[in-house]
Symmetry: C2
Subunit: 289 residues, 2 copies
């Protein structure tokens, strides 16, 4: 059993805390949390045993999990590695990987760090949003495996196993590119749908009374936290920008066919889009993002 | 109790059949269905008592419900009114209303017709997709109420009540404009998201293994039937075209901020988009579309 420090006691860190304790991976869990309200809530909920200042927490830890927005990870990664005990393992749970891996590429303690991304979450945030089994059966991506020491990797794989994650390995650029399409673009399309409909509602009152479950499903991700997503978009702007560009190109083609009355072409485009059905159904136990 | 004819035995017509029978609104249900496979499936499932040719079915009916794609409704509306018995009521369940109302505006039997749109459905289709209680608690929009006779409206309201629908009244143009934003645009954004990700997957294999529940939710409507949706988009092309235009404008603003590294502006846009949360939560019993 290990002493685990979790930096960031929100949905991601809080959910990890619940399962690491229940599964007996952690003998005790120390929280590091800037927001005093989140800190006291996490203590009340029993997510962590104590909340300590960063430096004090690190000194006592076998494993440190960083579960904060990716801009905050970028700011903390080097100072945390600097302070990390020689036998401890550092794991981050950030949704981008290239900038983080780049930042510590030449750090003398790089081997103690495992760059991870468990693809799990909900549109809610904060310690009260923490869920048991959030990670169970979900996909976890570890980047630059070869830069982590065998000892750090073994510890990290034990932690991922305790959470029920299925780990795959990938280089950081490939991770960021794939996630731009399969996750970040979905969030952008949903945020923009919300803004479009909120805008028109100013002029056309009460249209939300006409909204159905289809709208609710498509716009769900627009409830997601800007504090989490703005830094992800910033760090992945090159790949995400490319994904949005392609999305706009297809949208304009759709719009052109619509305005030309080319209903057969619209039909063909939708038939093509329908090919997502077997993909989604083949993944009925799909990991959440 | 009434003899009900349902034209179109798919998700929409089949679901209505189940509830109209169970609630005792219909003494018997006649189906009209071009697709012989759907016809025999509907008989096997007990959705209808018999399947008859259109003219024969109409001659025996008290109420006729049209639940087929909106282009097929447009083609059938005048001939069905021509053949309708003098005491019978005709109701369509189409997702567009302006073109249909316009088409029969001067028909001598216009009073026997009630233009309706129950906002309910799933992304599945055909008689096997028919569900009990699909309409329960959902919103139903009746357009041009004043053009329907009191007798027809009374019969129709009885049918809507048996399905558990809550009916509101609206002019047909307003209906089509509001639905463009609250329903049709969601479908377009989802179809286009699917196409974008399917396109990139050709070059980048196996990215769907990384998809989570967020992607599944946003792309769900891309599974919808092109045979149903292509005619809806065609009939609502003016309002939908305007909605897509506004969506593209906001998407480009997002893209511009992303490329300029204006993360604060992205944050503000997402904070604005977050205002959809109370709207959706205020509608936790929202009608499905």
């Amino acid at each position: 059993m290990k002493i685990v420090t979790i930096i960031g006691l929100g949905l991601i860190g809080g959910s990890a805390a619940r399962d690491l304790r229940r599964e007996g991976f952690a003998s005790s869990i120390i929280g590091v949390e800037q927001n005093p309200y989140h800190a006291s809530t996490a203590l009340e909920l029993g997510l962590v045993d104590e909340v300590l200042p960063l430096e004090e927490a690190l000194g006592n830890s076998d494993v440190v999990v960083v579960a904060i927005p990716v801009n905050a990870i970028a700011a903390l990664l080097t100072p945390v590695l600097d302070l990390l005990p020689a036998q401890a393992t550092l794991i981050d749970f950030g949704s981008t990987k290239a900038i983080l891996c780049e930042q510590v590429r030449n750090h003398p303690r790089r081997g103690q760090y495992v760059a991870a991304h468990p693809i799990a979450g909900t549109e809610n945030s904060g310690p009260t949003a923490a869920l048991e089994h959030l990670y169970l059966g979900k996909t976890n991506i570890v980047c630059e495996r070869e830069a982590s020491s065998e000892a750090a990797l073994t510890t990290a794989m034990g932690l991922f196993g305790a959470l029920g994650l299925q780990t795959v390995f990938m280089d950081a650029e490939t991770h960021d590119k794939h996630l731009a399409y399969i996750s970040h673009l979905s969030h952008v399309s949903s945020f923009v749908l919300s803004m479009t409909v909120l805008d028109v509602e100013k002029a056309e009152k009460d249209i939300f009374g006409l909204a159905g479950s289809g709208f609710a499903s498509t716009v769900r991700l627009a409830k997601s936290s800007p504090a989490m997503w703005a830094p992800i978009f910033e760090q992945n702007s090159a790949f995400l920008g490319q994904a949005i560009e392609e999305y706009i190109t297809i949208l304009k083609r759709f719009q052109q066919h619509l305005q030309n009355g080319e209903t057969g072409k619209l039909y063909e485009m939708m038939e093509h889009a329908n090919r997502i059905r077997p993909v989604l159904e083949g993944k009925s136990k799909a990991p959440a993002s």
